[in-house]
């Protein structure tokens, strides 16, 4: 059974259709990336799942149970994009506040706070006001406040925005630990390389709809970018481009697209040598998520 199932979600704000029949599902322990340009409908979707937006049509189900808007969702954790913390309270006090608001009390609360402080690496700063924390420390605490009540599904809205690579790595390690416990994660991010590296599946949202969904390989297929990109660096500027190649903006680089590396690459190299050029470097790669994303959503600015 899917942990989260969204079917034909529709929501309009005046004349703007924020969600226009969006559907997706998320399995147990899965990390699903939700990508889309600004204004694509990601935030509306996250708010609808969290019960903060009332859908005009469609449904949101958690473990097969349809969720009513405005009702508590104890199985759900929300990690907002802003560091939604009380800056004058300490880490421990923030954790206690959001833990209790999510129904964690007594001894369990103490245990969970102790766990969260260890998990975030903030145990030695637990009694310092949050306003004295670095950006990375706040991000980690922001994450901990959203998962203290051990939700089965966590919504993560840009959890690594504005932090250094070390903190980003640390946050993904924390998310990995959650997944190891069986927690499902829905992640929105604009860091495409992060989504490419971390997410098992990706849903690309645009104009309120899921325009593509699947693994990166599946997305490449759906975007019509199947094949491998070959990039050859040669010893001098190319006057006449050999057959099967395209000219790059760099006059010493040739590019081509192939589907079978084993069979087609030797032929390409032979043609280059026949043209009197010496190959200095060869790079073979699939289409990047960036290329897929732009192919699916276009290059025009949205805001």
């Amino acid at each position: 059974m899917a942990v989260l199932e969204i079917r034909d979600a529709r929501k309009a704000f005046g004349a703007t259709r924020a969600l226009d029949g969006l559907s997706l599902s998320l399995g147990e322990g899965e990390l699903l990336g939700l990508l889309g340009p600004n204004g694509a409908g990601k935030t509306t979707l996250i708010r609808a799942i969290a019960g903060r937006v009332r859908l005009d049509g469609g449904s949101v189900s958690l473990y097969g149970r349809t969720l009513a808007p405005g009702k508590p969702r104890p199985d759900l954790g929300v990690v907002p994009q802003e560091n939604a913390l009380y800056p004058l309270l300490t880490a421990r006090e923030n954790l206690e506040t959001f833990g209790r608001l999510n129904g964690v009390e007594g001894r369990r609360l103490s245990e969970r706070i102790a766990w969260a402080l260890e998990w975030t690496g903030l145990a030695d700063r637990a009694r310092a006001p949050v306003r004295t924390y670095s950006g990375g420390m706040k991000r980690r605490l922001n994450l901990a406040c959203g998962v203290l009540h051990e939700p089965k599904l966590v919504l993560l809205d840009e959890p690594t925005v504005g932090v250094d690579p070390q903190s980003r790595e640390s946050i993904y390690d924390m998310l990995g630990a959650l997944r190891a416990q069986g927690t499902s994660l829905l992640l929105t991010t604009h860091y495409l390389e992060e989504a490419e590296a971390r997410c098992e599946r990706i849903v690309v949202v645009d104009h309120g709809r899921a325009v593509a969904a699947g693994t990166l390989v599946e997305l490449v297929e759906q975007a019509g970018l199947a094949g491998r990109r070959v990039r050859l660096s040669v010893d001098r500027e190319v006057a006449s481009v050999p057959a099967g190649f395209a000219r790059d903006s760099d006059a010493r680089v040739l590019t081509a697209t192939i589907t079978d590396v084993g069979h087609e690459l030797p032929g390409l190299l032979a043609r280059v040598q026949a043209a009197g050029l010496a190959v200095r470097d060869v790079e073979v790669r699939t289409a990047s998520l960036q290329a897929v994303f732009l192919a699916l959503t276009g290059k025009e600015l949205r805001e």
Partner: protein, 394 residues
């Protein structure tokens, strides 16, 4: 470069409605409100409105009646000779007695009572004779009224005496004996107070500042919106009702503490009789605090930004306090303005504190003020709850 920056500043002002309101509308609003209160339209001190005075004619002679008529004819006075009929009573109004007139002053119905004792007719127009004196009973919280009545009494006495032909023996008298009618003055309230006006100012300032504090405390909602904690809290099981209740109770407890600190300071430094009036103080403080904190929630839910809240709070709080008597005692305003000021909860709060500390009123006598404050509280909470719907599920 400098003209460019100046032009940019003007352009930004032109596009910022809130800033335009603060720059142009708020000062005009303040000016208008203060002009009405302190200027020619509502201020009793400039003589435009009349001073209410209870007159008891115990002499009931032709001369004393002539004096009462002269007082009634004076444009500066509104003479009351009968006790007002109570609501729901069909009995005709009774002629005032010394005791009922004194009660009216004690209750705060009016600030001055003038007693014309038996034998006063002999003293009228005698210019310093040592006969019976008129008696002015006054509420010292209104220092102007008694002096005004004393002065106008002389004018009326002169008119009444001249009508009766009594202008003899004026030569070679000392100035004190040049009065056409001598009188003595007695304060019927606050005689035991060392600093009788301290209670009034403590209440006035405390009420004004808890209104500012309540607006600030309510503004935490705006801060939480900006910080994202409001959104996060609303995804838990707490809900908007719980959130507003928590903000309201926090703000009310803060207001209680703030008023208490103010009055304790007044007690320690200015000998404010707090301990003797503790029950009344507690009742008024709790009612005032819950009303002020609910009022703060209305301002906060009405505002979109902290800047808007600051502008709104400055405008409304200062206006209500000017009208409600925190800056300028209401009893010095015209009667119409005094009635108008009751649209603000703070005027009821101040009336309550004055009843407790000044008029030695019982707890039962605070019922109108308590009822009004709790009514305002309920109204404010309903309005704040409706306004807070914008933060709820979209």
């Amino acid at each position: 470069m400098i003209p460019l920056l100046i032009r940019n500043s003007w352009t930004q002002l032109r596009r910022d409605r809130a800033a335009q309101v603060l720059v142009f509308i708020v000062p005009i609003a303040f000016f208008s409100i203060f002009a009405v209160i302190f200027g020619g339209r509502g201020n009793r001190m400039n003589g435009v409105s009349r001073v209410a005075v209870a007159v008891v004619d115990e002499s009931a002679t032709a001369k004393s009646r002539a004096l009462v008529q002269a007082l009634e004819a004076d444009s500066g006075l509104r003479v009351v000779t009968t006790s007002p009929a109570r609501a729901g009573e069909n009995a005709p109004s009774a002629t005032l007695t010394r005791a009922s007139a004194e009660d009216m002053v004690k209750r705060g119905d009016l600030s001055v009572a003038l007693i014309l004792p038996k034998g006063i007719e002999e003293s009228l127009g005698s210019f310093g004779g040592h006969g019976v004196k008129a008696l002015i009973l006054d509420d010292p919280s209104d220092p102007v009224a008694a002096r005004l009545v004393g002065g106008l009494l002389q004018r009326a006495a002169l008119r009444a005496a001249s009508a009766g032909g009594g202008f003899m023996g004026m030569a070679a008298r000392d100035p004190d004996e040049m009065l056409p009618l001598r009188f003595e003055q007695r304060e019927v309230l606050g005689q035991k107070r060392e600093t009788p006006m301290v209670a009034f100012y403590a209440a006035g300032i405390a009420v004004m500042f808890i209104m500012f504090s309540a607006a600030g405390a309510g503004g935490a909602l705006i801060d939480e919106t900006d910080a994202g904690t409001l959104e996060r809290v609303l995804t838990t099981g707490l809900g908007m009702n719980g959130l507003l209740l928590a903000k309201w109770l926090y703000s009310a407890s803060l207001a209680c503490l703030q008023i208490t600190v103010m009055f304790v300071w007044g007690m320690l430094v200015f000998h404010l009789p707090l301990v003797e009036h503790l029950p009344g103080f507690v009742v008024m403080t709790v009612c005032t605090a819950v009303a002020a904190s609910a009022f703060g929630l209305v301002l906060a839910t009405l505002s979109r930004t902290r800047q808007q809240l600051a502008g709104l709070a400055n405008l409304i709080v200062l206006s209500l306090n000017a009208l409600g008597g925190s800056m300028f005692p209401r009893f010095l305003m015209s009667e119409s303005l005094q009635k108008m000021s009751l649209v603000g909860f703070n005027a009821w709060a101040l009336d309550g504190y004055i009843k407790v500390f000044w008029r030695e009123a019982s707890l039962a006598a605070l019922l109108p003020q308590v009822g009004a404050l709790l009514g305002f509280t309920a109204l404010f909470l309903v309005v704040a709850r409706r306004l807070a719907r914008r933060w709820e599920t979209a």
